[in-house]
Assembly symmetry: C2
Homo-oligomer: 249 residues x 2
DNA sequence: CGGAAAGTTGAGTGGGATCAAGCCGCGTGG
DNA sequence: CCACGCGGCTTGATCCCACTCAACTTTCCG
């Protein structure tokens, strides 16, 4: 009954590197829990560019974590207009908006080769009753998505939204160990335009102006952030909670 | 040890009518659970028009259910622009967007006299580990808010957004036992305009046109929906999941 | 009452959409 | 090798929806 120090199996090690596990049990995963999760988390085969991870209306089963690649979520209204809802990178969780209706309210499509690991939501729910850290993690993830979606719905100018997008991408790249100042976009201009609620033409002109103003340097899908400070200043109009707090004090 | 049939205390009866409880345990609340919740759920004193339930940056403690009245949530960017995020009515839950950061990302202000009942989130979390129905309810509520915020962020025309707002209000009134075709707005034109990402002047003109077209009849804050069908058709452009499903089939 | 805030109306402007070409990279096939 | 077509992207011209500014009216409250 004492703590066992047996080496974890290959699959267990895989799970330990899986964000769903490592984020929830930072450095403190017990062997018992690990083995339990090992049998439950499924590591999916690669999904190739243009293939769907799920589609609007699909029954909801799994919450997934992206291990590799980029995913775009979007919805289509009945007039055929496509609205990009988000871009998701390794470590991001997919599917949380489907819990309530038990159907996915949007499409998720691979922008490049994507691998995920996933866990049936029912399992996650019942596990989280026994694992407070997992439960807390799920609540926080859900809550964060609310705050994010809310932010996105704000009525800022095209400039502000684009600046926020660029800074957001830079930060997310940095959080994943890449350069914050230079990277490759995985999504098309049209996707970005739709995400920012702009016509593709408008985005093109905006990017051109940003480039002329020395804020960014663009070469196709390669982005170099040159005016981080200024971009941040433009984007921060969105919601700088720290500042709000200071001013309220 | 057998099932007790003792009459519940006054406070327990109060709790049974509280949405946080009745929604989670529809007709099947055990006496033990009831008494337990009784001591945990706090019924707050009335909050009067213009007073805050919480403010942007406040530390997060409670999830609250509105028992009576209407609440507006909004955020303010550093240029002083106010963005209305939502209107919340009896039965709605407040505070879920604050879980992640442990601070409220927005303000919540009473539009009329508001009473709530509330539960420390920590308590709700630990209770939900033992009460699967409560946990499921919380997950669904969080998920629903993601889907709702996402919807709001879509780039529809002013007409579509206004129609969606009117239909949404009608449905929510109906769900609470009021008339779906005639009711009283509790929020100002400015609040609605901000919510719909419109200038107050634009909203005024839109309402005028809707009235001229026989879609609604307005008298100050009194609204009568006359063209439910047409409004619904305009609003449905947003996201008619059922239709998407039919078309995908 | 009177003052302030909310709401409406009008005139003019502008940001972003739309329409229409054109450009460019790329895969395909002759 | 080029011709071709296609989709992604850009550029230009024009349009229109919603914003802004300003004046006025109404409502609310002290």
């Amino acid at each position: 009954m004492g703590t066992s120090f047996g080496a974890p199996s290959a699959r267990c090690r895989e799970c330990q590197s899986c964000p769903l596990v490592s984020d929830c049990f930072p450095g403190s995963l017990e062997a018992g829990n690990l083995h339990e999760l090992d049998g439950l988390i499924e590591h999916t085969a690669p999904v190739h560019t243009g293939s769907f991870l799920f589609r609007q209306g699909d029954p909801f089963q799994y919450i997934s974590v992206i291990r590799l690649g980029t995913v775009k979520t979007y919805s289509i209204d009945r007039e055929g207009r496509e609205q990009t809802l988000g871009f998701h990178m390794p470590g991001d969780i997919l599917g949380l908006s489907a819990i309530d209706e038990e159907r996915h309210p949007c499409n998720a499509i691979a922008l490049d080769t994507v691998t995920t690991c996933r866990l049936p939501f029912r399992v996650a729910a019942s596990l989280s009753a026994r694992m407070p850290q997992l439960q807390a993690k799920l609540f926080r993830l859900l809550s964060r998505d609310i705050a994010r979606a809310t932010q996105l719905s704000c009525n800022n100018s095209a400039d502000e939204r684009l600046a926020a997008f660029l800074i957001g991408m830079a930060d997310r790249m940095a959080a994943r160990g890449y350069s914050a100042s230079r990277w490759q976009l995985t999504m098309s201009r049209m996707d970005i335009a739709s995400y920012l609620r702009l016509a593709p033409e408008t985005l093109s002109r905006l990017l051109r102006r940003f480039q002329a103003e020395g804020l960014v340097a663009l070469d196709g899908r390669e982005v170099e952030v040159r005016g981080r400070e200024r971009l941040q200043a433009m984007a921060a109009a969105e919601a700088d909670l720290d500042q709000v707090r200071r001013e309220a004090a």
